[in-house]
């Protein structure tokens, strides 16, 4: 019993850090642009498929595929921003919602056409295997995933705090008009924000493909997960995002271990509802 619980905490922590990376993209897009991207989970799905295709084509390991999928998703993010999102910025909120939900349906349908309905997975990855510590085992793939995720989250923190573009993004997040009057080109800043948010899903997609399969409906799960993590964390705190990701990850593994593998989404939904009910600004959110 205690062993199972401890094992769940270990596995859940590592999955949770990957979830935090997925939610990071959603978080910066929402935080900087105030755009709710309902298609975020489907960006992850697309990233996983691209990872599959790249991995199959070049016989690469999944964890290396982001070398190609990150630039692809970055460009896809830019295109999405300029063709769709940019035009919704001055519109009513519901227009934004309709556009991103529409994008979600479009991406799912496109995935169905391109990769068909069956799940796709890559060959066993070279980071497959376990590290045994006493009675517990750590899956190498999850460990690598968690470490790489932490590196990227740290990189984004550095980018936001130390670089010109990052400062421009934070300024635009605080007051768009003023940032604009101080010389910040908001079209470019927003495009960069959206593209980075998309590119981060490519990193996560590569990591996930090292131990999971993907299917055209996969976006639902990752969309919900990232929403839950973001709601729990609130906006503006990257450490808070990591902690929230871990909480969600552990809750999910507990549901799998102690209730039923099919109950994983139940745990996520339960947290989501509880947070929105009891503390809408999240555990670590600003204001």
């Amino acid at each position: 019993m205690i062993e199972t619980a401890t094992q769940s905490v270990i596995t859940g922590t590592m999955m949770g850090i990957i979830y935090a990376l997925i939610a990071l993209g959603l978080s910066i897009i929402f935080g900087v642009m105030n755009v709710v991207n309902f298609a975020h989970g489907d960006f992850v799905m697309l990233a996983m498929y691209l990872s599959f295709t790249v991995g199959t084509l070049f016989a690469w390991d999944a964890v290396i595929t982001p070398v190609i999928t990150v630039p692809l998703l970055f460009v896809f993010g830019l295109i999405t921003y300029y063709l769709l999102i940019d035009r919704t910025l001055r519109q009513m909120y519901v227009v934004q919602l309709a556009v991103t939900v529409g994008l979600q349906i479009l991406m799912r349908s496109a995935a169905l056409i391109i990769w068909q309905a069956q799940p796709r997975a890559l060959q066993y990855s070279f980071i497959q295997g376990n590290i045994e510590i006493g009675p517990y085992s750590i899956l190498t793939s999850r460990l690598v995933g968690a470490v790489v995720s932490l590196i990227f989250i740290g990189g984004i923190a550095y980018f936001l705090n130390k670089t010109w573009s990052g400062k421009a993004m934070r300024a635009a997040s605080d007051d768009l008009d003023v940032a604009s009057l101080m010389g910040v080109n908001y079209h470019r800043t927003y495009a960069l924000t959206f593209a980075i948010g998309a590119a981060l899903t490519a990193v996560a997609g590569g990591l996930l493909m090292s131990f999971q399969q993907t299917d055209p409906q996969g976006g639902v799960r990752f969309g919900l997960l990232s929403w839950c993590v973001l709601a729990l964390a609130g906006l503006g705190s990257l450490p808070g995002l990591i902690v929230s990701g871990i909480i969600v990850g552990i809750a999910e593994t507990f549901a799998i271990s102690f209730i039923d593998p099919r109950a994983r989404l139940l745990a996520v939904y339960a947290i989501f509802i509880l947070v929105l009910w009891l503390r809408p600004r999240g555990l670590f959110g600003r204001k």
């Binding site: 670089t163 934070r170 300024a171 997040s173 605080d174 003023v178 009057l181 010389g183 503006g236």
Partner: protein
């Protein structure tokens, strides 16, 4: 006075639905001047600033800055051309430090290599050294006004629009502020257009005053001309007051 105006606003009209906030206003600011823009509350002064700096698109009229027609330009382009501003109600980047705030402005003309020199210079000039690493959200009003001025100066403007920058300052702060503006005008060659209610400041530093009432330009002249102008007294105090004043 130089012959070419630095800023030339021609027949500018800005409406919000049926409300005409600025009606057919024209004004000019010449290089090196400190021009005061005054008028009763709701006269359209801030709206005029917003239309000049690109936040609002005017329904009609033209804004020319340094010979470039900037009507309808996005704000960041106008900023690049050399115009910056502050706000009546302070609008700080509440989650950023004072240093980062000034830095965002300084990137307007500088890159990572030489931005810090400008940031240091401005922080020194505006006496923000003590609160350099504080987050703007924790600062008081007088400090935020300084930060706003610093942020605008960091963009290295040739022209600066100040929207009631003197409001809420005590006598000592006000006189220090006026000295600072005059030194910026002389040493940094910055042209100013200031919206101001504090008459001590308007009369003290403005070479020329433009008066706006109900969205229309009603007078323009030297401070002493304006203080004796019948229409101005009417606008501020009502028609009957004119008899008492005279």
């Amino acid at each position: 006075m130089e012959n070419q105006p630095m800023l030339k606003v021609t027949n500018l009209t800005k409406k919000f639905g049926n409300l005409v906030a600025v009606n057919n206003a024209s004004m000019e600011v010449y290089p090196g001047e400190i021009v005061g823009l005054i008028g009763p509350n709701g006269a359209g002064k801030t709206t005029l600033f917003n239309a000049i700096t690109g936040l609002y698109k005017p329904e009609n009229g033209k804004v020319v800055f340094k010979g470039v027609n900037i009507t309808g330009f996005l704000p960041h382009k106008i900023c690049k051309l050399g115009m910056s501003r502050t706000f009546q109600v302070t609008r700080a980047f509440l989650h950023m430090t004072v240093e980062d705030t000034v830095r965002v402005g300084a990137y307007n003309r500088r890159n990572e290599k030489n931005v810090l020199a400008k940031v240091d210079e401005i922080i020194e000039l505006c006496e923000l050294g003590d609160i350099r690493t504080r987050v703007c959200g924790d600062l008081g009003l007088a400090q935020l006004r300084k930060v706003e001025l610093a942020r605008a100066l960091a963009t290295e403007p040739e022209m600066l629009l100040l929207d009631e920058a003197g409001a809420g300052l005590n006598a000592t702060e006000l006189s220090a502020f006026m000295t600072l503006l005059q030194s910026l005008n002389k040493d940094y060659h910055i042209t100013f257009c200031v919206v101001e209610h504090v008459m001590q400041m308007v009369m003290g530093i403005c070479q020329r005053i433009v008066v706006l009432d109900s969205g229309e330009l009603i007078a323009s002249g030297t401070p002493s001309e304006i203080s004796h102008n019948q229409r101005v007294i009417e606008a501020y105090l009502g028609k009957r007051a004119v008899n008492y004043v005279n």
